[in-house]
């Protein structure tokens, strides 16, 4: 049983911001896939909920010259099925298609996922390799932050009590970039998420590497040392660099022990899956289908 609370249903971002300014302890809610579970488990007690689903602007998904703009209440399912996303941002659509289960994807939102900052989720890790920025709105005005600065730790973000997350923007990759996302987990929530993108020049040499790892540490982050190890190498040489790349990735994380596993185990997993992600990305860059089938893992 849920305890009684007051539900506010603004129809514009301005109205939502005004409600929030008066009620800094209110929770913002859209899909409710995280928040309502906590309320039902009586782990969170709230007097006010502000429902963002009736704000049309927040549900928009648009592609502009600057990238892919996702309103906060765009659902995982919308991302998975959008023709624009499938055609031009296929990795995003594929990851969205593997979030939790279809009931969660139907109502769970991009903004909810990022703002709740559950350490065991996919989107923040994936979006880091798209150099994402988040837009926050409040009565004092908008604010834009790099996603890496927005997610502070488990369940903690840089969102101020009077701010709401309005949306996120993904930057397009340079031409000749291939990407892979790998997740591993025995439960519905991932134990590890790892996103890798390789950019090649016309001579098939690596010019840029983006590697982000999530779920294993307090927050998802890019691993600059492992990225740097691949830069400048020829595509043909990358196949032999898996061990080194995996070791660098494993060394660069600060893993946290929790019910998904001990810190040592997560470090090991990170090394193994960084190596596997590199093999899959190389295969994709060479025009082959990645032969990447591992137990309890999804490779897209």
């Amino acid at each position: 049983m849920l305890r009684p609370f007051e539900l506010h249903r603004p129809s514009t971002v301005g109205e939502a911001a005004a409600l929030l300014a008066d009620r800094p302890d209110a929770a913002l809610y859209a899909g409710g896939t995280e928040l309502l579970l906590l309320m039902k488990a009586r782990l969170v007690h709230l007097d006010d909920l502000i429902d963002l689903k009736r704000i049309p602007n927040l549900g928009r998904l648009t592609e502009t010259g600057g990238g892919l703009e996702l309103g906060a209440t765009v659902t995982h399912r919308a991302l998975e099925r959008s023709e624009v996303v499938r055609a031009r941002w296929p990795l995003v659509a594929d990851v969205a298609a593997h979030v939790a289960n279809v009931r969660v994807r139907n109502v769970g939102t991009v903004g909810g996922n990022l703002a709740f900052a559950d350490p065991h989720s996919d989107l923040a890790t994936l979006f880091l390799v798209f150099d994402a920025t988040v837009r926050l709105a409040s009565v004092t005005g908008p604010r834009e932050l790099a996603l890496g600065d927005f997610v502070r730790g488990p369940y903690e973000t840089a969102r101020r009590p009077e701010e709401l997350l309005a949306g996120v923007r993904l930057r397009p990759w340079p031409p000749r970039t291939v990407g892979v996302y790998v997740k591993f987990g025995l439960y519905e929530r991932p134990t590890l998420g790892l996103a890798l993108a390789l950019t090649l020049d016309a001579g098939e040499r690596v010019t840029a590497v983006r590697l982000a790892v999530g779920c294993v540490s307090a927050r998802p982050h890019r691993l600059a040392a492992a990225e740097g190890a691949l830069a400048g190498h020829a595509l043909g040489a990358l196949g032999g660099m898996g061990e080194e790349f995996g070791a660098l990735a494993a060394r660069a994380i600060d893993p946290v022990s929790d019910l998904h596993g001990a810190a040592d185990y997560k470090r090991e997993l990170t090394g193994v899956f960084a190596r596997r992600a590199l093999a899959a990305a190389v295969a994709r860059a060479e025009g082959r289908a990645p032969d990447a089938r591992y137990p309890h893992a999804v490779v897209v």
Binding site: L35, R42, F116, P154, Y155, A218, S257, D258
Partner: protein
């Protein structure tokens, strides 16, 4: 969770020891400790700890007992329960002050457990928060002893 820290302080051990026993000043040094009172001098205290991580807010009335007091050494045990969240908190803290160079060295060893659903969900978060708390305590203690 377990946090071990060693702080080098500029004040003499006697001065540090005095501040550790000054209840209002200790309350001000412990982040999230809203109130504390003496139940039985130097043996038993009552305090309330509140912590917030994202949507989770924990507020626990703690029964704190001094289990060891020797010159320069102090051990405490605290226990409490957040009725609304059905979470139980158990903690023990050992402090040791000794003279070092120009001032003193304070060894802090804190262990704690959060039981209940919150403890299961937040296992990774609790260790992190405990480390932040001890570090913040160290910073505020430096202020309290006038460094």
């Amino acid at each position: 969770m377990r946090v071990v820290r060693e702080l080098v302080l500029a004040a003499a051990p006697e001065r540090v020891w005095e501040v550790l026993w000054d209840v209002p000043r200790m309350v001000a040094c412990i982040p999230g400790c809203l109130e504390a009172r003496e139940v039985e001098p130097r043996r038993r205290y009552a305090a309330r700890m509140s912590q917030r991580v994202g949507p989770f807010a924990l507020s626990v009335p703690l029964d704190i007992r001094v289990t060891q007091e020797a010159p320069g050494r102090l051990a405490l045990e605290g226990r409490g329960r957040d009725g609304a969240l059905a979470a139980e908190v158990q903690m023990s803290v050992r402090l040791a002050v000794e003279a070092a160079d120009a001032g003193s060295r304070l060894a802090v060893e804190a262990e704690g457990r959060v039981l209940g659903k919150l403890g299961a969900l937040g296992a990774g978060v609790i260790q992190r928060r405990a480390e932040e708390l001890v570090d913040e305590f160290a910073a505020r203690l430096r202020g309290a002893i006038g460094e």
